[in-house]
Symmetry: C2
Subunit: 370 residues, 2 copies
């Protein structure tokens, strides 16, 4: 293994030049890695080469240090096994979105598992193929490295370096931890999106015409490829079933609540309303746990409270003054007491902006509180 | 009623100056309507006025021609009834997202239903309140006008004019048709998003860190307000239950398929795989029915097929030539035969671009087919 080789001179062989393989080739080539490309389709490999993802494997001299298998889920284990045998000194990783089933398939074969380290770059697009490749596809995304029990530490380190070089934030977890996580954050959302979209099949065109941004967002990933997703769901069936059962139970509770509301308009509906409110509130709380776009914790804001007299133009003047202070306001809430000649405006801003904003507004005559 | 009054001189009274009321006031004021604003919170009304949504109701002279009630769902019927009594010559409409329950509540009151025409502007944002108002909130969105059986034709026409003046595409349907449609395109997607987001509550932070764009999109609306959504779901319980039951049935089928995959790795899994594939494929088909952003039918593209020799740079050169021809390529598929010295590139373009693109590529020596 080549754990002591400088990243810049690592030789990477990418097998499968679809979206993931071609994007990775582009990213690693830019970083100075020597990338060679292989694909069952010569045309697909040639397109990736033309996009700057590397050279064709046939043109390459020298054995690879790391082989990245970016093949469809149902052939990944076979291709990994073949590459492990073909390159006896290389570390082999794959990019499949389920890790336990690939490892189990390899454990049934006669291969050197010390050189295999499964991984999963959490990046993708609705479009597929090298034509959709982007050099920054992995930038700021998570890339899970999920070594099995026999993987050598040096092999894990090499795969980490490749993932980091592509721009990803590397997370190391076991294959089982990975599969449970993606069941909840990826596979069950896919099923939910597909089921919501399916309900449109029976609607009239004028009813479908009422679709707004909400259902567009919920169902965007419903446009995904059925054959790829069948492979993914089959590969992760136990973990997906677990999360889906919990969702089905909650769905049944919502259905029971709706039925109670229909059959009873009296006191029995109080509990039913509570079920509905808790469903949406739990969704709020779950949604709030999703980190910001680049894997960072969600930003928290600080509040500045300003007394606003109830006179024409007062709030408009305040918003103008906030803008002139060069402060970016994230949110604004208005509070008021009935009959009071003023209201309270609560401005949410970045914590660092609190002091400068208070100084600026005070100097303009506003009554300001933290 | 004032069906013969020119739109520009219509007097509109907006009751409730949150996101919808304030945005509507801004849009109608810009069109030259005389808009007056009322809200239980004087501060909220003042903010809407400061944003250019109209004048405060207290400052207004003259009875309104149309009253738009943009109040929370659970008080809409009471406010509509009050406005119908207070302004005996005005047409009253509301903006609540469920129409059947508002109409039924009004039918139990002693009000003049010939002057009430329910409506529902299909516009919204995650943010609420006048501070989130936008003059173009309704631009290109659907606005359902859903008259009950007693509504006068002139009243319906007046509400249509207001909706059209705000920039919306007006759809007329019965309250029942409306409620069945929004159950599928809005209310069930909200429940699904909440349930998917809820599954994150039990996950470790490192597992949640794997969240990608997919779950972000699916759960964006899970951040919605529980109290508002409880009111909406209660108001549309029968229609929501119907769609949700069909979704629950399909979810059970997916669960059964996953269980079969776990317990049997033989022939019994063929049917299970078919269930999963059909679920995603039905989602594809349902998703494809959602019209484009502005309510138009989805654009269909035409294909131009180009023969691409398997030589370095050939595909890159083709993409460059397509770009130079000034044609916007929507999609690209590569086909290939094993061992063939060329591939086929299928370019998807707007139908009108087919002829110019074929001429341009032919003149550069490409072999082109339609």
């Amino acid at each position: 293994m080549s754990g002591d080789v400088a990243s810049e001179s690592l030789r990477i062989r990418i097998v499968g030049t679809g979206l993931i393989g071609a994007s990775l080739g582009m990213a690693l080539s830019r970083k100075g890695f020597q990338v060679s490309l292989d694909d069952p389709s010569p045309t697909a490999a040639a397109l990736a080469r033309d996009l700057g993802a590397g050279v064709l494997a046939a043109d390459t001299l020298g054995d690879p240090d790391v082989v990245v298998v970016a093949a469809p889920p149902d052939v990944v284990a076979d291709v990994v096994a073949r590459e492990l045998s073909r390159w006896p000194n290389a570390v082999v990783t794959d990019a499949a979105s389920v890790k336990g089933s690939v490892l189990r398939a390899l454990q049934e074969k006669d291969v050197d598992l010390s050189r295999y380290v499964g991984s999963h770059p959490m990046a993708g697009r609705e479009k597929s193929g090298a034509v959709a490749a982007q050099v920054d596809l992995f930038e700021g995304r998570s890339w899970v490295v999920a070594p099995g029990p026999k993987a050598a530490a040096g092999a894990v380190e090499l795969v980490r370096r490749v993932a980091a070089a592509a721009g990803s934030a590397v997370l190391v977890m076991t294959p089982a931890e990975h599969d449970a996580a993606v069941a909840a954050v990826s596979h069950v959302p896919q099923i939910a999106a597909s089921l919501v979209a399916s309900q449109l099949l029976e609607l009239s065109s004028s009813a479908v015409a009422l679709s707004g941004q909400g259902i567009r967002d919920v169902t965007r990933i419903a446009a995904s490829d059925p054959s790829m997703w069948t492979q993914i769901l089959v590969g992760n069936a136990p973990a997906v079933r677990g999360v889906l059962e919990s969702m089905a139970e909650q769905l049944d509770a919502v259905l029971a609540a709706l039925r109670r509301l229909e059959s009873d308009s009296g006191h029995g509906t109080v509990g039913a309303r509570a079920v509905l409110a808790r469903t949406v509130a739990d969704g709020n709380a779950g949604h709030a746990r999703i980190p910001g776009k680049h894997g960072a914790a969600p930003t928290t804001y600080a509040a500045v409270v300003v007394v606003v007299p109830d006179e024409p133009g007062a709030l408009g003047r305040l918003l103008r003054d906030v803008g002139n202070a060069g402060v970016n306001m994230e949110d604004l809430h208005i509070e008021h007491g009935v009959g009071q000649p003023f209201g309270l405006a609560e401005l949410s801003v970045l914590p660092a902006a609190v002091a400068p904003l208070m100084t600026a507004l005070s100097s303009l005559g506003w009554r300001v509180h933290e």
